[in-house]
């Protein structure tokens, strides 16, 4: 087998060296009854060429040839081939967690740069080496708030990504954390009225997302003020971080939970992505996940190491700040390289293009009779539309035009079956936006 570097003769020599008559002897500690006699019923073995054929066949069964206006937590942005060619270097791709600093300085230096970039983007003081993704980062932020405040109730806006809220509930359920949801107002922003002191007081944290699931920006400074007024922390989730290129950072939030996918990570049907938690220096010891820190050797040469490990499971076990061990290091590296390439100007320009294209698309779509914007709040590259009929029906028709249409808000918000989310990034050509608008007009003109 091509992955195995042994010849039959070498296997024999090695068996002799260990004094075993047969390879079965090596498994003698497994009770006879549990040892398989028959080969496993698995497909294969396949040659490399056949493996490629299998996956090409699968790829052809997906959405190839369709134009998609989906965002809803996962965003298509330009990526440079430079990033991919660098992360595929074996030295990055096939190395382990950098516990042995002296021969892991490449990874450690990159993590240190990643942490710095995340702090710069969020206007926070410290960021960790990565979490699984945005949904678990937001969830861990809630658990972290609970540890910091010692309070067990968290308030989460209904405008937070529905699947993030599901994950939060799963984790919260048996850690004694009570999750309360806060409604949204017609603007799509969190309903400040529903956020009275009584609900806030005694809460560990108020958890919002900005831009939120409806694409609407929350007023982070105001919400932070409200939360702080009653001793709660503000946790800000960010699922579309490209917005940070132009939108005011959540400096007033106490914990920021990011989904970094938009920074050069392919959609890949849901993962791997890269989550991050950024926060204030004073909370660092309550942070989950790994941290790289600067140090020096006996000759004063700068180097980096994993640090503050006493927070982690391999040292603290049941007292750890989290059970996370393997994280998403390779995608933190992707994000780091991508942001270095994009740079200060590039990130701003990309954000501006999103801002402009989304507005162009909205204008085109609003021209269609019966179609109007669903929420009045500020938005970045995603907005909800109200349609004269159910989004499901509309999407069925759009599929025939090779368009993957608006995200069906009704899936998670029963009250919004006629509303759909449209996302337009810099990757969407004007011509496709116009084609979408024309298709939609035609569809709505034809009576049911």
């Amino acid at each position: 087998m091509r992955y195995l570097p042994k010849s039959p003769a070498e296997r024999e020599q090695m068996l002799q060296a260990v004094g075993a008559r047969s390879v079965d002897e090596l498994f003698r500690s497994i009770p006879e009854t549990f040892r398989l006699r028959a080969p496993l019923p698995l497909p294969g073995p396949l040659s490399e060429a056949e493996i490629i054929q299998y996956f090409q066949a699968r790829a052809a069964e997906n959405s190839r040839g369709f134009v998609s206006f989906l965002g809803a937590g996962v965003y298509s942005h330009l990526r440079s081939v430079v990033t991919d060619s660098l992360v595929q270097r074996g030295e990055f791709l096939t190395s382990y967690t950098p516990y042995q600093a002296e021969i892991s300085q490449g990874t450690l230096t990159a993590i240190f740069e990643f942490q710095t970039l995340m702090c710069q983007l969020t206007a926070q003081e410290v960021a960790n080496a990565s979490m699984y993704d945005g949904s678990t980062a937001l969830t861990e932020a809630a658990l972290m708030a609970n540890r910091i405040t010692g309070k067990s109730r968290v308030l989460v806006a209904r405008s937070v990504h529905p699947e993030y809220r599901e994950v939060l509930r799963t984790y919260a359920k048996h850690t004694g954390i009570e999750v309360e949801e806060i409604a949204y107002q017609p603007s799509g922003e969190l309903d400040r009225a529903a956020l009275n002191q009584t609900r806030l007081s005694g809460a560990a944290a108020l958890i919002v997302q900005s831009p939120n699931f409806f694409g609407v920006l929350e007023d982070v400074p105001a919400l932070a003020e409200a939360a702080h007024a009653s001793g709660a922390l503000l946790v800000a989730g960010i699922a579309e971080p490209v917005s940070l290129g132009i939108v005011r950072p959540p400096a007033e939030a106490d914990i920021v939970a990011i989904e970094g996918q938009a920074f050069g990570v392919p959609p890949s049907y849901g993962g791997p992505y890269v989550g991050v938690i950024a926060t204030r220096e004073k909370f660092v010891r309550q942070m989950p996940g790994r941290l790289a820190g600067q140090s020096a050797d006996d000759q004063g040469r700068r180097g980096f190491v994993l640090t503050l490990a006493t927070r982690e499971q391999h040292i603290r076990r049941e007292k750890a700040t989290s059970n996370i061990c393997t994280n998403e290091a390779l995608y933190a590296l992707v994000t780091t390289i991508h942001l270095c390439l994009l740079g200060k100007e590039g990130l701003r320009e990309m954000a501006l293009q999103n801002l402009s294209k989304a507005r162009f698309a909205l204008a085109e779509l609003e021209k269609i009779p019966g179609v109007r914007r669903a929420f009045s709040g500020r938005f970045f590259n995603e907005f909800a539309l109200e349609f004269p009929r159910s989004v499901k029906l509309i999407n069925a028709a759009l599929l025939r035009e090779k368009i993957a249409g608006p995200f069906v808000l009704g899936r998670h918000y029963p009250e919004l079956t006629k509303r759909g989310l449209v996302c337009v990034t810099e990757t969407m050509p004007r011509a496709e936006i116009e084609r979408f608008a024309n298709a939609l007009r035609r569809i709505l003109e034809t009576p049911l």
């Binding site: 080969p39 300085q105 740069e113 799963t170 790289a292 390439l341």
Partner: protein
């Protein structure tokens, strides 16, 4: 430092005595500052196609106080500088592609290149998790096919592929146990964990709302069944056992252990991180396991990438199926695939979407390459571990003598007499051209040397490793200093971890430039001449 250097340099020379450094030399290596130190206003590393719609004014679009200006300190560098920066950084890493990476419990095996290729195919990497099942048949089929393979390998009944790491798999598995017990009236209070377990086990137990109760291993490193009988009271929900254990030995009485738990209405959870010792040889489903997770980034070769990503599918017996996380990939009668999220008894979601699809895909590619031949990989992995054990057994103390499976755990007790500990030996291995083994784990072995070669190592590489370990053992007696101050061949020596934790510097700041110890080019930008 030179005297030490001489030691590490010398072996690269001909006619060297046996046991000197054969595998590595030293070579010129580029210094490099942080990317922020290369930044200059106006440099660009990536350009965008021109905007094909009217540009809008951000202040007008968002309101002035919602707009930010340029991010202070954000890098401004060119494409070639990015290429050089990360290429140079990469050369400071050790990797599987360079040689043996014998980290015990981590199963650092070869990561096939074709898996990287297929993961990037247009039509797979490009697929959006929110698109309809109708547009995702290829992805769903991949998830389904992998699930079938993993069920065959583990002998279990049902599975979720949503968890994105072993630890998350543990949590999902424990939550299913809890949901199951709850459904039978009482979730119970405790989960038993052997003292040899990995740290994520107890950490996950807590999130699942259980108390951890550690149970000790007997002098053979096996679970003490009498002890277990006594601990497995009515309020015990489950035992979390790693099998083979982190000592690399099979729990010979695993079936009896399962029996003890089942008698008492408790379940058996198996941490499957060590499945590389069993794939194709024995199926946990056959020896009484009720729930288990797999680490696809270990047994199934998906790249660790410097710490992640991973995937931690959870395999369960029928009784636990109703509690699987949502959504579940199902095959409808017409042979098409769908996502079923409407499962009232589910524990809910542990992560958004369908988990780390890109990792699942690679694991399937790996399994397809072997087919039933995966047994050969397991045999080679166990053969390598035993070959290394046999090669150094007389030089290092082996606290537990039961037959080794895929890994072997020694202790540094003999070297300790000369003041040399497992960390010193590990660092010295670097000079010999190897990545260190896992140190100081499992906790039941003081000063542990945990060695897992995997099947990916040739006899040649194993022989070099044995020679290196024997040579270091000799050095520990003849010249302990050189071991205690290792590594001597790396661009930076041992780093001060205590200082790093005392006054943590966790991010670069402009001011750092001045106090950067290692000169980097920035120091030069002033120009070479006074």
């Amino acid at each position: 430092m030179n005297s030490k250097l001489t030691e590490t340099e010398a072996p690269a020379r001909p006619g060297e005595p046996a046991g000197m450094i054969r595998k590595a030399g030293r070579h010129v290596s580029q210094n490099e500052g942080l990317i922020f130190e290369k930044s200059a206003p106006g440099k660009r590393g990536m350009e965008l196609p021109p905007l094909d719609v009217p540009a809008c004014n951000p202040a007008a679009a968002l309101g002035a106080d919602f707009v930010r200006d340029g991010i202070e300190g954000f890098p401004e560098v060119s494409e070639i500088e990015v290429i050089r920066h990360f290429t140079r950084l990469s050369t400071w890493n050790y990797a599987i592609d360079l040689g043996m990476y014998p980290l015990g419990s981590c199963t650092m095996k070869y990561n096939p290149r074709v898996n990287e290729y297929v993961a990037r195919l247009d039509g797979l990497a490009t697929e959006h998790p929110q698109q309809s099942a109708g547009l995702s048949q290829g992805c769903l089929r991949i998830i389904h096919d992998l699930k079938e393979c993993l069920l065959a390998i583990t002998g279990m009944d049902a599975a979720t592929l949503q968890p994105v790491a072993g630890a998350q798999g543990e949590l999902a598995g424990l939550l299913m146990i809890r949901a199951y017990l709850e459904s039978r009236g009482n979730p119970r209070k405790k989960v038993l964990i052997p003292d040899s377990a990995h740290g994520t086990n107890p950490a996950s137990v807590v999130i699942a709302g259980y108390e951890v109760r550690n149970i000790r291993s007997n002098d053979r490193g096996q679970i003490d069944t009498d002890h277990l009988r006594e601990f497995a009271t009515e309020d015990v929900a489950a035992l979390m056992v790693t099998n083979p254990s982190t000592l690399g030995v099979f729990e010979e009485r695993i079936h009896e252990i399962a029996g003890i738990l089942h008698e008492r209405g408790a379940l058996l959870y198996m941490d499957g991180a060590n499945m590389n010792a069993l794939a194709g040889i024995a199926r946990p489903g056959d020896f009484g396991v009720d729930v288990m997770h797999l680490n696809l980034h270990k047994t199934f070769s998906t790249p660790h990438g410097g710490g992640g990503p991973g995937a931690g599918p959870v395999m369960v017996k029928k009784i636990l199926e109703p509690f699987l996380p949502v959504p579940v990939v199902v095959r409808t009668d017409d042979g098409r695939f769908a996502l079923d999220a409407n499962r009232p008894r589910s524990i809910g979601r542990v992560r958004a979407y369908c988990g780390n699809f890109g990792v699942l895909l690679r694991a399937l590619a790996y399994i397809l390459a072997y087919g039933p031949g995966i047994r050969q990989a397991t045999e080679d992995a166990v053969l390598n571990a035993n070959y290394i054990r046999n090669g150094i057994e007389d030089a290092y103390d082996l606290p537990y003598k039961l037959p080794s499976m895929h890994e072997v755990v020694f202790s540094d007790s003999r070297q300790k007499r000369h003041g040399v500990n497992t960390m010193d030996i590990a660092k010295r291995l670097i000079d010999y051209g190897f990545h260190p083994y896992t140190t100081a784990f499992p906790l039941i072995v003081p000063g542990a040397l945990m060695i897992e070669p995997t099947e990916s190592e040739s006899k040649e590489e194993c022989d070099l490793f044995i020679a290196a370990m024997r040579s270091i053992a000799a050095e520990a007696e003849s010249n302990p200093e050189i071991v205690k101050t290792a590594p001597h061949s790396t661009r930076v020596g041992r780093l001060d971890e205590v200082a790093a934790a005392r006054k943590p510097i966790l991010r670069w700041r402009p001011s750092d430039e001045d106090r950067r110890p290692e000169t980097s080019a920035v120091g030069l930008s002033k120009g070479p001449r006074p």
